[in-house]
Subunit: 397 residues, 2 copies
């Protein structure tokens, strides 16, 4: 069903399907494990969630907009730096306002370095915003490499006309996310493009971290017999974004799971230094991450569908939209591949962390069907879980 | 004059001014130092330079476009990685296709880390393209910190519909630029935004480098008596971009000066380890860089206008468009602030490098008018060179 939708790329069709379902009965009992969409969702396309409405900007800020001059590298850029960025990311390295950050680096260690652009639409959504996403995403890319994230950079491409209040709100989120994961934003850049040549805010965050001596996590490390763990429910981020875009509401607000995973990774790696590989299943979801693992290590992957935690709201929304939670993006979930012998210890360690309470063993690495991911359904059937083919949910991160 | 144009942001007016000047006499003698625009420029709005026309893509590539799926993180992303990025940036770290690059790092040194987004329009221009600019810009931000550039990342935000051939051409340029400056592109990311929500290609490059022990260059280091050197002609990049946009031609093609400055910086720093500060005067030009220096060091800056190298074509175009070369962007020029005693040695060192042949001492640091930059004209008059106020030439880098 997913493959059809992806091939047609026809979200309009899906939405028309939603409208035909209206009005749908509101569930009275909450029924957490129900698989019937109508008991979970209440659809209200005319009263879409406006997550930007919850901000409380001062009237003055509301009228202020990003102008081309804010990307000039001149006075207006300096003003933006002083008013928006420096107060948020208050640290000496950034405040030096050199073109580059120069930072102390522990000697004799390996450096981890990563980058990601964020173009999520809308920029504010339940559970987070583009700023929080950008910081957490880069922290997580370092964490899944076994690195301790240290320093981040942020480069903004702003569309002329953006409200400064919105930018401030995003930057505040970034600061909070930096504090939460213990990283410092040490350098940055701002460009402004003309109206209609961007979409409010794009953010590219890069990060550097240090990899402890002797640690080597890689998608090439999986061995038959290894167990595959996930740190919680799959698909929350993607469905939270989709629900805002499509104007559907859940009885409880479904929030993005955006979170920094370095703390969880630390706990896990301390308990089980023999972890083979960590991944965060973002774009392309669990399916893409495990397909990369299967190909990278030249092994097969077997999943138990019933063991994969999925929120009932997410499952219901996926059924409604013809999506598969296996392909939906997560922004605060860890996949861990660990040797069979230490799987129990790994699971206990992950569950001991607030971000890993719903951790579960969801499958294992096998020597058959190398390069492929196969999933066993609750009814015993098996299906191949291929890599995502086209775009599932565009601009999800 | 400049301030007027910037305040109105009215390039249409300027262009109408240009048309009124047509037809203009073509200069017969080449007169390199002429200050009369009509002897240098030939304007042909109907036959604008098409710098993209020089590529030679295969027919198949020409019809291929970036689709939303190319940003999916799935199969199409992997395909793009395999077809476009891996062949270009052939190195083991990137080929590992982990979410982060992990690289060896010399022990006991300081790390330099920088980021910049590139949104230049058009993406191909005389002397370079957005890819070359993105690599050189980040290399230069590291070089002016006294760092040896080592590793780069690149994050692409592509507009749906972009020709893959254009992307390949940009990526090839990036590879060549990496080779030229001796850096490795070790990690990257690609996002695709819907048609009309971006502008073909935006690139964010980040870079890390190592700062030799004991080296500390900073805009806070300037002292009265120091000499200010520039490595060549000012404003080439900005005017090269402007000329493409406005459809004006010069007798010889005016090219962007985009170039990696790490080699030049090395030569200079080896000859004069006591260099106070290096800067590359990009957006905002020489003026912004020196204003930052004056404020950062709490000193005054005095410039000798006649000593500042400016190509006659650039000077002519500036007069025509009401711009000031002091504010126009450079992408391959170094500003060096050095103690008076070593200025001669510094100048000789810079001139010994191919990118510094036109180096000149253009001014000095003074203890009067602290925080301000003052320029003496060839006629003896003095004027304050303020920081750029609004946007001079939008999307110049």
């Amino acid at each position: 069903m997913y493959a059809d939708v992806a091939a047609r790329g026809d979200h309009g069709l899906v939405r028309r399907g939603l409208r035909r379902l209206l009005p749908i009965r509101k569930d009275e009992g909450g029924g957490r494990m129900s698989r019937n969409p109508s008991t979970i969702l209440k659809a209200s396309p005319t009263a879409a969630i406006d997550p930007t409405a919850s901000g409380c900007p001062t009237p003055r800020e509301e009228t202020e907009q990003i102008l081309l001059g804010h990307g000039s590298g001149g006075m207006m850029s300096a003003d933006l730096m002083r008013r928006v960025f420096l107060p948020a990311f208050d640290n000496e390295v950034l405040a030096a306002m050199e073109d580059q950050a120069t930072v102390a680096f522990p000697s004799g260690r390996r450096l981890a370095f990563t980058t990601d652009s964020y173009v999520v639409r809308p920029i504010f959504f339940p559970g987070g915003d583009i700023g929080r996403l950008a910081v957490n995403g880069t922290v997580n890319d370092l964490a899944v490499g076994g690195a301790r994230p240290l320093y981040l950079s942020a480069a903004f491409i702003l569309e002329e006309g953006l409200a400064i209040a919105d930018l401030k709100r995003v930057v505040r989120s970034m600061r909070e996310a930096c504090d939460e994961s213990g990283v410092a934003m040490v350098t940055g850049d701002t460009k402004v493009v003309d109206r209609g040549k961007g979409d409010r805010i794009f953010i590219t965050t890069s990060g550097v971290g240090v990899v402890p001596a002797g640690r080597s996590l890689s998608i090439r490390n999986a061995r038959p017999g290894d167990r595959i763990l996930v740190s919680g429910t799959m698909g929350d981020h993607g469905i939270a974004i989709l629900s805002v875009r499509e104007g559907i509401e859940f009885e409880t607000v479904l929030e993005s799971d955006t979170a920094p995973l370095n703390g969880l990774a630390d706990v896990l790696l301390e308990a089980c230094p023999d972890v083979r590989c960590l991944r965060d299943p973002t774009r392309g979801g669990l399916s893409s991450a495990l397909n990369e693992l299967a190909k990278g290590s030249g092994v097969g992957v077997e999943l138990e569908e019933s063991a994969i935690p999925v929120r009932p709201e997410v499952r219901a929304a996926c059924e409604l939209f013809g999506l598969d939670p296996m392909y939906v993006a997560n922004e605060g979930k860890l996949i861990a591949v660990v040797p069979r012998e230490t799987a129990g210890r790994a699971l206990a360690a992950m569950r001991s962390h607030p971000l890993g309470r719903d951790s579960a063993v969801v499958g294992e690495v096998v020597s058959s069907h190398r390069g492929l991911v196969v999933m066993t359904s609750p009814f015993g059937g098996q299906r191949m879980v291929a890599m995502i083919a086209g775009e599932h949910l565009p601009r999800i991160c």
